[in-house]
Every structure is written in structure tokens, then in C-alpha cells.
């Protein structure tokens, strides 16, 4: 059962070669773009690496970079094969190269598709990583004198200003942690003593947020302390005031940002995937039709090209056997197993 049979005249073959040359060049460019996008995504993830708990999400840009490089190599060779295709003298030297070439190409092309799917699957992992990272960031905000944590304050401030967000889930997260260091608290004052006594962990909790939560678009100067106390400020209502500080949480802002980035990248990679698949299919058609011409006196005859000689499952098993053989070679072979392998090959 032949898959994808097509009759190709000599003119059609020539047109196919020209089209394939152009396509393979485009696909090489696409591979380079995929690699660049992978690098860009990795850089963006590393920039905010301090508020992420783990680096699981980095598998997406890593896969993209590998696939980009492989794609450039595959399409370069596809272009070379295509150049030699019409020359009956130079084409046969590619014969032994072709089977592993197709195997590798199909593997990396499916890997491209997997990378795009991964970027959607990893959303949950990214979210939980950010949740833990931001929680720690807010907790260690005040520890500017502890080595290893002294830059948390800076990181969180810049993050909140850039992404226009406040806290982890929302701005109320700041009410639950002590974000003012003890070094700057006057323990002799009554107010400080009252606040510390008011909770179990002896923390100085305020209904205030750091200045980086302030919204520049607010028409009034920023109210960052005594936020919930309407009487502390003139003409102020905590429930209806929207523009004073950023309301949204940083976790959601960051997840949206990264998912937007990965969606765009996924779109571009999908189109590169389509171009590369068409390159491989055209190359296969060209190769099979040229093989039918080989050995004939009249090179202008019409030949038949096909995608797969046998059915899909049989071809798949054909490719899988050498791989399995390689793996089984490592094991101690029993006489029955050796006999089975010899019978199959």
C-alpha cells in the first residue's frame, strides 16, 4: 500500500527542484528564527529568575534552541540534496545518507510540535513556581542586611513598577508580612509596641504597602500607609479609590506576560513546522521519482513519486528495528533472542 503516490513529468520534476530549493532556504531561515526565539525566551525567563522557585519552565526555550539548530542543519542538507537531484551522476552518493536523514528529520520536526504543546502544558508549573518565588520575595523584602537576600527588595520594587502590580495575589499580601526591617523601628514608641503585641508572631504589621505599588496615573499623591483607614486621609474612600495603588497581583501579571510571549513564539514555530514538513515531503517525492529515472536511457520520462513505499505502521517498524537492535546489543543476548533478531533482519 503506497502512501502519497504522484505522477511527475520531467518538467514537473524541474519545477519541484526549484520550489524545493526556495523552500529549503526559507526553512533554514525559519530554523534560525526558531533558535533566536528560543534564546530570547530563555533570556526573558532568566531576567525574572529570582522570583521563580524552579527552572522547570526552561525546558521550553531549551527545546526550541535545539530544534532551531537541528532545523538549520536538516534544511541545509535538504538544499544540497535538491541541488544534486537532477544530476544523475551526483545523486546516487546521497543514497545511504537518506534513511538516517529522514529518521532524524522526522524526529526533530515532531520535537518542534512538542515544544509548542509544552509551552501550553507548562503554564501550571510556571504559575506555582512564581507563587512560591514571589511569596519568598515578599517575605525577605526587609532583609536588606542578610547576605544572599539583600537584593530582594530591589528585585521586588523593580518588578512591581515594571509590571504595574502589587503583592503576590493582590496588594493585601503586604498587610500580612512585616516588610519594614526592625532596624528602622523605634521599639520605645507606644505605637510599635502595640502593633507587635497585636499578633502571635510579634511582627510589625501595617496596612501599608511599599512605594513601588504606587500608581503614577493617580490624580492625587500616593497614599501608601493607612490604606484601609478612610479618616486618616482627606477626601479618601478606600473602597472606591481605584487608581491610588496597583490592585492586581504580580503573579497573574507575570503569568500573562510569559503566556503571551509563548503564544506568539508558538505561532511562529508552528509556521516553521509547516514549512519544514513540506520541505521533507517534497524532498521525499523528488527522491523517489528520481530513483525511478535512474538507469533509464531517456531521462525525460514520466515517473511516479510516493511518500511511503509501505504503509505507515510498517515503515515505522522498519525505522524502529535498527534502534531496538542498538539497544538490545547492550543486553546479554540469549540464544532465542539472537535467533529472533536474525530471523527479523
Amino acid at each position: 500500500m503506497v502512501v502519497g503516490k504522484m505522477k511527475l513529468t520531467s518538467q514537473k520534476r524541474v519545477k519541484l527542484v526549484q520550489g524545493l530549493g526556495l523552500l529549503s532556504w526559507l526553512a533554514t531561515l525559519g530554523g534560525a528564527i526558531t533558535f533566536t526565539l528560543g534564546c530570547f525566551l530563555k533570556t526573558e525567563l532568566r531576567r525574572r529568575g529570582e522570583v521563580m522557585d524552579n527552572t522547570d519552565i526552561h525546558c521550553v526555550p531549551n527545546t526550541l534552541m535545539i530544534v532551531g539548530l537541528a532545523s538549520m542543519g536538516i534544511n541545509y542538507f535538504a538544499g544540497r540534496i535538491c541541488q544534486d537531484a537532477l544530476d544523475a551522476g551526483r545523486f546516487p552518493r546521497w543514497k545511504t545518507f537518506l534513511k538516517p536523514f529522514y529518521g532524524c528529520s522526522i524526529f526533530f520536526t515532531t520535537l518542534m510540535l512538542i515544544a509548542v504543546i509544552l509551552s501550553y502544558i507548562m503554564k501550571g508549573s510556571l504559575e506555582s513556581s512564581l507563587k512560591i518565588g514571589l511569596k519568598n520575595g515578599i517575605r525577605f523584602y526587609k532583609d536588606t542586611d542578610t547576605p544572599g537576600r539583600c537584593f530582594q527588595k530591589q528585585t521586588i520594587e523593580r518588578l512591581q513598577m515594571e509590571f504595574q502590580c502589587c503583592g503576590n495575589n493582590d496588594y493585601k499580601d503586604w498587610f500580612e508580612v512585616q516588610w519594614i526591617s526592625n532596624r528602622y523601628l523605634d521599639f520605645s514608641s507606644k505605637e510599635v509596641k502595640d502593633r507587635i503585641k497585636s499578633n502571635v508572631d510579634a511582627r510589625y504589621l501595617v496596612d501599608g504597602v511599599p512605594f513601588s505599588c504606587c500608581n503614577p496615573r493617580s490624580p492625587r499623591p500616593c497614599i501608601q500607609y493607612k490604606i484601609t483607614n478612610n479618616t486618616a486621609h482627606y477626601n479618601y474612600d478606600h473602597q472606591t479609590e481605584e487608581l491610588n495603588i496597583f490592585i492586581g497581583g504580580c503573579r497573574e501579571a507575570l503569568v500573562n506576560y510569559y503566556m503571551g510571549l509563548m503564544n506568539t513564539i508558538g505561532g511562529v514555530v508552528l509556521s516553521v513546522f509547516l514549512i519544514q514538513s513540506s520541505v521533507l515531503a517534497s524532498l521525499r517525492l523528488l527522491q523517489t521519482s528520481m530513483e525511478a529515472v535512474a538507469g533509464q536511457e531517456n531521462l525525460e520520462i514520466e515517473t511516479e513519486g510516493y511518500l511511503l513505499e509501505k504503509g505507515v505502521k510498517e515503515t515505522f517498524m522498519e525505522y524502529l528495528d535498527p534502534v531496538l537492535k542498538l539497544m538490545l546489543l547492550n543486553q546479554v543476548t540469549s540464544p532465542e533472542a539472537t535467533g529472533t533478531i536474525n530471523a527479523d533482519s
Binding site: S181, Y184, P221, C222, Q224
Partner: protein, 363 residues
């Protein structure tokens, strides 16, 4: 001749091909000039609210115009050089080439002027920024006045982005009222006291907006009662450096724009040198081909030069041409308006062939 160079036929062809490629590269540099002009224009427009009205738009506009014209001129130059390889096609362009070279020479001068103008903007920029920032800070509180309602946001975002505070420093905020009256409780005694404390009835305080806060400070930001050491625990106004941004915004913006202008100016000067060298190549090609055409033999070796006579002599000739250009419709009074006065007359004047006496000149 100034800087003569001998050209064989092969050398001439190579020169023509090289110039063709270089002219296309010049088209690309023309596009670069254009985009530099657009970039500069966008950067200046982005912060228009903070700059007072000055002639700052002249430089980017000039760069944009020069870039577009450069593309056109070099495209034409490429076409000319491509045709110069073939001596028959050269005849088509023969008359055009010298005017083209002269035009391109003056055009490269305008590129140079554009590049030098980038360096001259410094003074105007400083003045514009001083006035603009002063006004922006004054209208900071007027978020309910149409036309000024976005100044607060602009100033806050600028102070955050450029890590600066006030015009010269954070003390500028102590001298203006930056909290709108809508948010001041006039019934409280403290408010009334502050208003009474100055002539203009402004609510002045030793506080700054939140955008002046330094992100790198180890302690939460102190933005109100800055000069009052006792208002905050473990705080000394004189020695505290990291609390607010130290730099003034005028200096920060000036540095930023000076950097951009210097890079743009340097790029324009490099492009100018490149265009000048391409022009010199085209001049050599033109003179070499002219000499070939004069001698009549397309395969011979010819000489190319920059100027036929010395620089001074060429300048004098051109000056005379320009002087005489203005006189083409004037009558030449040297020989009483008669250009044929010295020619022997061949007319028959009657039987005795005596030429008439010349008419005495009325003095």
C-alpha cells in the same frame, strides 16, 4: 592636474563595477540616515511635554530629508556606474555626469552640516529642558485641568525611568505646591499654618512625590518630613544618600539626549566620509572615460584626475563663469555695443569706396 591616476581599460571596468556596488551600499546608508532622523524625532517627541518650545525639530527633519535624497542620488549614481562599463552606454550619461558630480558634492556638504548640527544642539536642549521641567513641576498638581492632567504621570514616569528627582535636585519640590488643594484639609490647623507661612498662599512642605524614591535604598522610602531627623527612627538627613534619587532630572535628560546626539552625529560623519570617497571614485571614473572618448580609442590607457588644473585655477575659472552667467542679457558696452567694430568692412559704399566716418561717441 590634481592627484592624477593612470587607468587601463581593465582598471576602469573594475572601478566602474566597484562604484556600482558602493553606490548600492550608499543607498543603504541613506536609509540608515533616514531612520536615524526618524529615531531622533521620535525620541524628542516622546518627551515633548517636558521641553519648552525651541528649534529642536530642525536636526531630525534635516536628517530625514538628507537620507531620502541620498537614496535617490546614490540610486542614480549606481545606474550611471553600471552603464559606464560599456563605452557606448557612457555616451548617454556623458553630459549628465559632471552636473551630477557637482550636485552630489554640494549634497555631501549638507550631510556634513547635518552631522555638525547634532553637536550644536546642546545649548538649546539645556535651555529647553530647564524651562520645560520647571513648568512641568509647577503644573504637577493640576490633574483636573484639561491640557495638564497628564503632567503628573509624565513627571512621575520620567523620575522613575531616569532615576532623578526635581529639576536640579530634590529640593526643587520643597519650593512648589505639588499637592492639589482638593486633597488638603483646610479646616485643620496644620494646613492653614503652612498656607500662611509664605506670601503666595501655597502649601509647601519638605516632602517629595513617591517617584523620587530610590529603589536601591535598604529602608522603606522616607518621602515626607525629609529634613526632620526626629520624625523618623535612626535617620540623619545629611548622611542619608540612598533614600531618594540624588541627580536632578535636567542633568539626567541632558546626558541621555547628548549621548544619543553624539552617536547619531558620529554615524552621520562616518557616512559623510564614505559618501565623499564614493564621489571621488565617480569623479575619477568620469575624467578617465572623458579622456578615453577624447582620444577616440576605447581600449587605450587614460588618465583620471580630481581637478584638471590646480585648485586655485579651477576656482578662478568657475568664479568667472558664475560672474558671466549673470551678464548674459546685458549689452557689452566695450566697443560701443557693436561686436563687429574691428572687422574690416566688405560692403560697397558707392563709386569712390570710401567707408563712412565712424559716428563720434557722445561724451
Amino acid at each position: 592636474a590634481v592627484l592624477p591616476v593612470k587607468f587601463t581599460k581593465a582598471k576602469r571596468d573594475k572601478l566602474a563595477q566597484l562604484l556600482w556596488v558602493l553606490n548600492w551600499v550608499s543607498v543603504v546608508t541613506g536609509i540608515i540616515l533616514f531612520s536615524l532622523g526618524v529615531f531622533l524625532k521620535v525620541e524628542i517627541n516622546k518627551r515633548q511635554d517636558l521641553m519648552a518650545e525651541r528649534q529642536l525639530q530642525s536636526v531630525p527633519n534635516m536628517l530625514i530629508a538628507v537620507g531620502l535624497i541620498a537614496c535617490g542620488i546614490n540610486f542614480l549614481g549606481g545606474k550611471i556606474c553600471y552603464d559606464c562599463v560599456d563605452t557606448s552606454k557612457f555616451l548617454r550619461w556623458k553630459l549628465v555626469m559632471l552636473p551630477y558630480i557637482i550636485c552630489t558634492f554640494f549634497f555631501t556638504l549638507s550631510i556634513l552640516v547635518g552631522g555638525l548640527m547634532c553637536y550644536s544642539l546642546h545649548g538649546q536642549l539645556e535651555e529647553s529642558l530647564t524651562l520645560g521641567l520647571h513648568d512641568a513641576m509647577r503644573y504637577y498638581k493640576d490633574t483636573d485641568t484639561p491640557g495638564r492632567c497628564f503632567l503628573k504621570r509624565t513627571v512621575d514616569l520620567m523620575q522613575i525611568q531616569f532615576q532623578c528627582c526635581g529639576n536640579e535636585g530634590h529640593r526643587d519640590w520643597f519650593q512648589i505646591q505639588w499637592i492639589s488643594n482638593r486633597y488638603l484639609d483646610m479646616s485643620r490647623p496644620k494646613g492653614v499654618d503652612r498656607l500662611r507661612s509664605n506670601v503666595e498662599g501655597k502649601y509647601l512642605m519638605d516632602g517629595v512625590p513617591f517617584s523620587c524614591c530610590n529603589v536601591n535604598s535598604p529602608r522603606p522610602c522616607i518621602q515626607y518630613q525629609i529634613t526632620n531627623d526626629s520624625a523618623h527612627f535612626n535617620y540623619d538627613y545629611q548622611t542619608e544618600e540612598l533614600n531618594l534619587w540624588i541627580r536632578g532630572c535636567r542633568q539626567a535628560l541632558l546626558d541621555y539626549y547628548t549621548d544619543i546626539l553624539h552617536s547619531v552625529g558620529l554615524t552621520v560623519l562616518i557616512i559623510w566620509l564614505f559618501e565623499l570617497s564614493v564621489l571621488m571614485g565617480v569623479r575619477y571614473l568620469q575624467t578617465a572615460l572623458e579622456n578615453v572618448w577624447r582620444r577616440g580609442d576605447p581600449e587605450c590607457e587614460s588618465e583620471g584626475w580630481l581637478l584638471e588644473t590646480s585648485f586655485v585655477a579651477t576656482a578662478r575659472t568657475n568664479f568667472n563663469i558664475i560672474k558671466n552667467l549673470g551678464k548674459f542679457n546685458q549689452i557689452n558696452t566695450a566697443s560701443n555695443g557693436d561686436p563687429n567694430i574691428d572687422r574690416p568692412s566688405t560692403a560697397h559704399y558707392g563709386p569712390d569706396k570710401v567707408p563712412p566716418k565712424s559716428i563720434p561717441i557722445a561724451s
